[in-house]
Every structure is written in structure tokens, then in C-alpha cells.
């Protein structure tokens, strides 16, 4: 019987899920994300903030990108590449210009009741990349120590 590897490979797409535009899917994605974080050696606090950033990106994809359209899909992926953990979320929306999103920490925006999702993603991840060629593809990047 072949030996089952217990450690994650260095470069691989671990998870790829395409799902309908429903917030209900988040309850299924959270344990998968946390399990991978656990295997990569992220502590409990780091897992908490990584999930928060992930949830913000998923919320945006479902709400702002696909506008809750059940016919549009969201792609969710988890990748490990060397020392980086990447979370990929892609919607089928019209895209947006990320530089035009107002800074929620500016005085005139502090009392606004929305518009902090991207700010939190950037706060809790090492890097956030956007590609709006086809829908919006967000890549959340966090370096991890477990490179074995």
C-alpha cells in the first residue's frame, strides 16, 4: 500500500472550488481554510485574521462582484508556493478600479458604515493582488514558516 504523505507539498494547488453566489458556502469554506492554515503552522490568532481577510474577499465577490446572482459562480482556491500561502477568490462581475476605493481611515470616511473590507484584507495579509481582466480575481498572500 502506498505511503500517504502527511505534509503539504511545496508548490501545489490544494483546493479549488467553484460555487454559486451564496453566503451560505462560507460555513463550508472556513473549516477547509483553517485546516490548511493549521498544516502550514499558522497559530490560532493568525488563522483568525487570515479567515477574516478571506471572508471579506468572499463577501465582496458574492455581493459586489456577482451581486448575489445565482447564475454567476465564485472560484475559491488555496495554493502553497514555497513560503507563500495564497488564497484566490475570483468572481464573474464587472470588476472595479481598486485605486478608486476610498481610504476608510480618512477623516471624512470614518463614520461610513461600509467600505472597510479591502482595508482589512490589506491589514491582515502580507500582500493583496488584484486582477480585473475577467471579473475580479483577488489573491491574498501570507508568508508561512513551515517550508518543509
Amino acid at each position: 500500500m502506498p505511503e500517504i504523505p502527511t505534509q503539504l507539498p511545496r508548490e501545489i494547488t490544494l483546493v479549488e472550488i467553484r460555487f454559486n453566489s451564496s453566503l451560505a458556502i462560507l460555513d463550508m469554506i472556513q473549516p477547509i481554510t483553517n485546516k490548511v492554515c493549521d498544516q502550514l503552522g499558522f497559530d490560532e490568532d493568525s488563522q483568525y485574521w487570515i479567515w477574516l481577510a478571506t471572508q471579506e474577499a468572499l463577501n465582496n465577490a458574492i455581493k459586489h462582484g456577482n451581486k448575489f446572482d445565482p447564475n454567476k459562480k465564485v472560484l475559491f482556491g488555496l495554493q502553497v508556493d514555497g513560503g507563500e500561502f495564497r488564497i484566490i477568490i475570483q468572481d464573474e462581475g464587472e470588476g472595479f478600479v481598486v485605486d478608486e476605493v476610498p481610504d476608510p481611515t480618512r477623516k471624512e470616511n470614518l463614520l461610513k458604515t461600509s467600505g472597510r473590507g479591502i482595508f482589512y484584507m490589506r491589514s491582515f495579509m502580507d500582500r493583496v493582488e488584484y486582477n480585473t481582466d475577467k471579473g475580479t480575481k483577488v489573491t491574498l498572500v501570507k508568508r508561512h514558516q513551515d517550508e518543509s
Partner: protein
């Protein structure tokens, strides 16, 4: 999310249990605050001791709640916010707009 109501003196306490996120708790919290104001209760203390998680939508609901209560001449304060939720508010530079307490009796006494 669940909301439990109780009163102490003339202060209404809302004990929140669960998470305040988009689609789970945000609308419920808003409706609870609007109902209290409609019923003439203007001293509101939100006990967040059992809030397990909050996202940016939850943060937005706290701001909306504060503004709504204040616009109607009321007071809206927070009790027992966790370290993580405090961090969420702090890094967004909005922690200072809230009055928050760790002691319930002190919080209740603060309502004038």
C-alpha cells in the same frame, strides 16, 4: 446570532451571542436597535462578551447603530468587547468613537 434583552435601572442591555457578519446578525442587530428606539428606550448597552466573530459588515452595523441611537437623542455604549474586535475597531481608527467598558456596573452608572 441571538439577542437577549434585559434592563438595569433605565438602561436596556442587549446581550449578543454569536457572530455579527454579513447576512448573520447584522440585520438582526439593526432591527433590535430600531425597535428599542421606537419603544422609547434611549439608553442602550450592547454586551458583546459572547460575540465570537465580527467582520467589516458587523463593524458597519456598530457605527450605524451608534449614529441611529444618537440621532434619536439616545446613548449607545459597548460592554465587554474582545481583544480581537477591539483590534478591528482600532486599526480602522474608529475605536475612539465608541464608549466601551469592561465592567457592567460601571457602564450602567455612566449613563446620565
Amino acid at each position: 446570532m441571538k439577542i437577549f434583552h434585559r434592563t438595569s435601572e433605565d438602561v436596556t442591555l442587549l446581550d449578543i451571542e454569536g457572530q455579527i457578519t454579513i447576512g448573520d446578525g447584522d440585520v438582526m442587530l439593526r432591527e433590535a436597535l430600531h425597535a428599542l428606539i421606537a419603544g422609547g428606550q434611549k439608553k442602550i448597552l450592547l454586551n458583546m462578551a459572547r460575540v465570537t466573530y465580527m467582520d467589516s459588515s458587523g463593524v458597519g452595523e456598530l457605527i450605524a447603530g451608534l449614529q441611529y441611537v444618537q440621532e434619536h437623542g439616545g446613548q449607545f455604549k459597548l460592554l465587554n468587547i474582545s481583544k480581537k474586535i477591539k483590534n478591528l475597531l482600532f486599526i480602522a481608527q474608529i475605536l475612539s468613537i465608541f464608549e466601551y467598558f469592561n465592567d457592567e456596573s460601571v457602564a450602567i452608572a455612566s449613563f446620565s
